[in-house]
């Protein structure tokens, strides 16, 4: 309903009478976001991919883990819509399962990473406002973050996953453990200006606890940044997961992800090109759509962005 009202309002462009309810923040964001056509397109793509990964396995009679020995390495046809692997696994079932895997890993990791980074980043900045002892604490925390940033995470993730073999839950865990530091540094540098603001000082003098100041006053004020950071994180995680799985260090058979599918396509690239082009297309669809959404969110949430136009 609200959407229809929206459209008619904009098209007619009647000046809003002062008695009318003022534009709420969410509606403003929505309106700015909708102006970016590619971002809206991205939302539809991601929505379509989620539907595909949920209902895809029900649409086909084949299971991603069960081979069909009557069709080994068959090109796309009426029975196997995306063709089959050399081992007889149905590619449609595998791709829809793999897209779901990639999206789950991407979103879970990114949300957890952003939460940790937000807490650590704002806390580090907040310490700096608490006098000399706090500033020393801030230095220590920054030192720890910087130290964690320079450890070769690729190697350590590879070692851990190799040791405990191919479960996607573990992959999420290690990606979170080694993924939050960069975002924490960015958030720290932005939260530095917020800690100097009057409302933070006022809350502190009123005796509000530190935890509450962080959660109720500082984190919401960098909320727009967090949303953008999270969206970009989804893309980075999907990319990282694909790299690890491609190298045989992430998700492992019988489970499939887009990375393992690409890894399997490597040897039969010319004889069975559909095994490469279909998973590659879906992967690019995910990364592109998420990038478009992040772009639109930046337009909608960042008031200084010039791309936003008039609101």
């Amino acid at each position: 309903m609200t959407m229809q009202n929206e459209v008619s309002e904009e098209k007619v462009a009647v000046p809003v009478p002062p008695s009318k309810k003022r534009t709420s923040m969410m509606r403003l964001y929505y309106r700015r976001f909708r102006r970016n056509k590619l971002a809206v397109f991205g939302v539809f793509i991601i929505f379509g991919l989620v539907v595909f990964s949920v209902f895809g396995p029900m649409m086909t009679e084949w299971n991603y883990a069960d081979p069909d020995f009557t069709a080994l390495g068959a090109p796309p046809n009426g029975s196997h819509w995306f063709g089959t692997q050399k081992s007889g696994h149905d590619l449609f079932a595998q791709v829809s399962h793999g897209v779901g895997r990639s999206l789950i890993i991407g979103f879970t990791t990114s949300i957890l990473t952003t939460l940790i980074a937000a807490m650590v980043g704002t806390a580090t900045a907040y310490f700096g406002a608490l006098g000399p002892a706090g500033r020393r604490m801030e230095k220590v925390m920054l030192g720890i973050i910087n130290f964690l940033l320079i450890i070769p995470s690729f190697l350590i993730i590879a070692l851990v996953i190799k040791g405990y073999g191919g479960s996607w839950q573990l992959l999420i865990l290690v990606l979170v453990i080694f993924g939050w530091m960069g975002a924490a540094r960015v958030i720290w540098s932005l939260a530095m200006s917020i800690r100097e603001r009057e409302f933070v000082t006022a809350a502190r003098y009123m005796g509000v606890s530190s935890g509450k100041i962080l959660w109720r006053h500082m984190v919401p004020n960098i909320g727009s940044l967090l949303v953008i950071q999270m969206t970009l994180g989804v893309q980075a995680t999907v990319m990282a997961e694909t790299s690890f799985s491609f190298l045989g260090l992430g998700v492992k058979a019988p489970d499939v992800s887009l990375g393992t599918l690409l890894g399997g396509a490597q040897d039969v690239l010319y004889s069975a090109p559909w095994l490469f082009f279909i998973p590659a297309g879906f992967l690019t669809l995910i990364t592109l759509a998420v990038a478009f959404i992040a772009d639109g969110l930046r337009d909608a949430l960042d008031p200084n962005s010039s791309a936003g136009g008039r609101a």
């Binding site: 070769p152 690729f154 190697l155 190298l247 490597q266 690239l269 590659a280 690019t284």
Partner: protein, 275 residues
Amino acid sequence: MLRPLNLDFTVPLAKRWWIWLSNILFHWNWGLNPTGGSVNEQISYRIWVSAELLLGATIIATVVGISLGIYTASRQYKLADRIWQGISVFALNTHIVVAALLVVYIGISINRALNTTVFYVTGSSSFDVHGIWKFIDALQHLFLPTVSLVIVSFAGTHMLQRSLLLDNINADYVRTARAKGLTRHQAIRKHAMRTSIIPVATQIAFSIPGIFGGAVLTETIFGWNGMGRYMMETLQKNDIHGLVAVSAFGALMTAIGAILADIFVVVLDPRVRVN
């Protein structure tokens, strides 16, 4: 029997550790891999294999990225700008595996169409070539992996250079330069460029370790025996000494990147003076 290999369990752990460390520090000996081969030997030729690939790709991606940035920034919102912007967004969000396999597919297709091997899709060189042919052979091997690395890395430079140049192109000092009689091209090249290229140079210098990471995948796909592939091999074979050497190489790359970034800033930014 175990003592010369530094594996004697009767020798205290701390002492064995010191033997291992002092071998590296004083004799530049990185130890042996599980099959008894020298890590030094492996590293010494693999570094050049990697360098051959990465140096070329980085230089081409940088030149292409910066030129495109200048070209599109001086034609903001025109057709050429839009098209290149679209291509760069696409390239920026393409996974290196997808790009590399796509390039391999096209390479094989061309080979099939011409009925001869124009591009090699595996290995860094052939064994049985000599003289001038060695150079051509190297180029044939280099072409596809370089193209795939350039595809995924030029776009970041392009977008950054474009947005920075657009910030500066309308600045007062550029207008002053135009007013003094410089052509638009000269004003951009000599005045706007100079300030906007500094962050780009820093970003490229810091991307060197990242390029090394991307090379793990490229080298695996194209079968180059470089440092990236060596890392995967040492991981799979539990070759601790090799893995330590690879990590040290990665750290060295990070350090070189940071130092290069500082040098670039000093060279390019007249406000920074070093005594």
